[in-house]
């Protein structure tokens, strides 16, 4: 069985290594992962940083539901996702997720679907802080 917390919302800097460790399994020949980082511009405007707001109890429940759906659809062995709350500077990691499976096809497909599900159904919002001091809540992405 894999080590470490599979689902985490944290105000600390994210490290992909524990996410990968959380899905490692001797029965699996593949670990696929996705890491989302903060881009320094959006729609032609300079972004200074992001601030993530999270409905934590519901987000963690949604992560569990995602894991169940991905396991059902792709036959993966394990799924893990760690997401930031609070301020993340440009270049920082906002999300790290990983899936393991006996073979690579399932692990890669599950990761691809996981980030799309997260951006649709998990109650997390990003606020972009621009270079001119203004800000904007991003709705839908």
């Amino acid at each position: 069985m894999a080590d470490g917390a599979p689902f985490l919302i944290t105000g600390d800097e994210l490290d992909p290594a524990p996410v990968l460790a959380a899905v490692r399994d001797a029965a699996c020949g593949a670990v696929a992962s996705f890491v989302g980082t903060v881009r320094g511009n959006n729609d032609g405007r300079g972004v200074l940083r992001l601030e993530y707001e999270v409905h934590e109890s519901m987000a963690l429940r949604q992560f569990e539901r995602m894991a169940a759906a991905l396991t059902e659809r792709h036959g993966i062995a394990h799924f893990a996702v760690h997401h930031r709350r609070g301020v993340v500077p440009v270049g920082g990691i906002g999300v790290a997720l990983a899936a393991s499976a006996p073979r690579r096809g399932a692990a890669l497909a599950a990761c691809r679907e996981a980030i799309e599900l997260l951006k649709k159904d998990v109650p997390i919002w990003k606020k972009e802080i621009f270079a001119d001091g203004s800000h904007r809540w991003v709705e839908g992405s």
Binding site: G36, Y52, E53, V54, H55, S57, M58, A59, R61, H83, G94, V95, I115, L118, K119, K120, D121, V122, P123, I124, W125, K126, K127, W137, V138, E139, G140, S141
Partner: protein, 80 residues
């Protein structure tokens, strides 16, 4: 009855508060959505794009709203 709704992100900022009380006479989410828009008209347009959740799960417009429910209003999400 009075229902407590919790607000997040852009909707929270537009309302200037994390929580609102809504006078709500009928029992489903659709009626709550209508009551909320009538009692807070400046939020009506934003509300139309929001989903509702009870007990950490999304609920449809025909779901019942229990008398003691805390209802979360979920604007379009943008995690990742």
């Amino acid at each position: 009855m009075t229902v407590t709704v919790r607000l997040f992100a852009g909707l929270r900022e537009a309302a200037g508060t994390n929580e609102l009380c809504v006078e709500h006479t009928d029992g489903d989410v659709s009626a709550l959505r209508t009551a909320l828009a009538e009692q807070h008209p400046h939020l009506a347009e934003r509300l139309s794009s929001c989903r509702f959740a009870i007990d950490d799960d999304f609920v449809g417009d025909d779901a019942a709203v229990p008398a003691d429910a805390v209802v979360d209003i979920i604007p379009p999400v943008s995690g990742g």
